[in-house]
């Protein structure tokens, strides 16, 4: 039979063992919780890292394709410009040739002069031509084309040649106001329109 003191000491030890067990159990439970929380947190971090990597990767891919599109567009524009410039060069060449065909050129020259005179709004005008036109274009032929206008406006022909591939400069008699209707000026002024029309015809733009 256990003595009173033996029971007392046994109680002390039992209490201590209980407390010890509880301490260890608590630590184990705490460790378990910490482990689960950590797993969750790590999973979230991993998920975020992979999600960001995918987003970055998509952006890289999109950028590469976008750059390819941009490069292609630039190449397209460059090649279209080459064709358009070839057409413009040909048009300039044809314009020069056009001035050699008097049957077609005289009516154009006459219209350019007529329009210039109308724009000037004067009763007397001086017409300036280039050297080649001065030598070969008959003033009479032009005046014939301008019949109705030349009856109302006094036209003088300057003997000083102008630097132009064709067309004319029409000035008031005192030379203070002038309308430049040369072919070169016309080509320059019409270039934006010509490019638009060329784009439409060549590329359906």
């Amino acid at each position: 039979m256990m003595s009173e003191s033996s029971r007392f000491t046994e109680d002390i030890l039992t209490t201590a063992r209980g407390k010890a067990e509880s301490l260890v159990r608590e630590a184990e439970a705490e460790a378990q919780r910490a482990s689960e929380e950590a797993k969750l947190a790590i999973s979230k971090d991993v998920e975020t890292l992979i999600r960001n990597a995918r987003a970055d990767a998509d952006a890289v891919k999109r950028r590469q394709i976008s750059e390819a599109r941009h490069r292609s567009k630039i190449r397209e524009q460059q090649q279209k410009d080459v064709v358009m410039q070839e057409v413009l060069v040909e048009v300039k060449k044809r314009s020069l040739e056009f001035t050699l065909n008097e049957t077609r050129y005289i009516p154009l020259l006459s219209r350019l002069i007529e329009t210039g005179i109308r724009e000037l709004g004067v009763n007397a005008a001086t017409i300036h031509l280039n050297e080649a036109d001065l030598k070969r274009v008959s003033a009479l032929a032009v005046e014939k084309e301008l019949k109705s206008l030349s009856e109302r406006v006094k036209i003088e022909w300057s003997r000083e040649p102008i630097a132009a591939s064709g067309g004319a400069i029409i000035s008031s008699s005192d030379g203070r106001v002038r309308i430049v209707s040369t072919l070169d000026q016309r080509l320059e002024a019409l270039e934006p329109k010509l490019l638009i029309e060329a784009g439409k015809t060549l590329f359906g733009e």
Binding site: T9, A27, V60, Q64, E86, V87, L88, R94
Partner: protein
């Protein structure tokens, strides 16, 4: 048992109890420490693996992007060649049209 022996037995029991609790406290601390380092190790391992995956994803996307961009440019180039060929065939007609614009003067 004498009174002295009884007191000694109680003192011994108290000492033993203190040792048991101290051992348990040390064990609990070891458990906490172990889980802490285990978590840290697991975190490093999982993040390293994830970074490796992320790097693979980035490399793959870069390669896919390169292939797709290359394919796009080749297709575009082919279409462009056809477009330019068609346009070249229309050059003469375009020149005529532009000449008509130049030579047409509205009165």
């Amino acid at each position: 048992m004498s009174g002295i022996e009884t007191v000694k037995a109680i003192v011994d029991a108290e000492k033993e109890a203190a040792r048991i609790v101290e051992d348990a406290t040390t064990r609990a601390a070891a458990i906490r420490k172990k889980i802490g380092s285990s978590i840290q190790e697991q975190r490093q391992q999982m993040l390293a693996e994830a970074k490796k995956n992320a790097s693979t994803i980035a490399e793959r996307a870069k390669e896919e992007g390169r292939i797709e961009a290359d394919r796009y440019e080749k297709e575009y180039e082919q279409n462009l060649r056809e477009l330019v060929a068609k346009a070249s065939a229309k050059k003469a007609a375009t020149v005529e049209k532009l000449m008509a614009i130049i030579t047409q003067v509205d009165k």
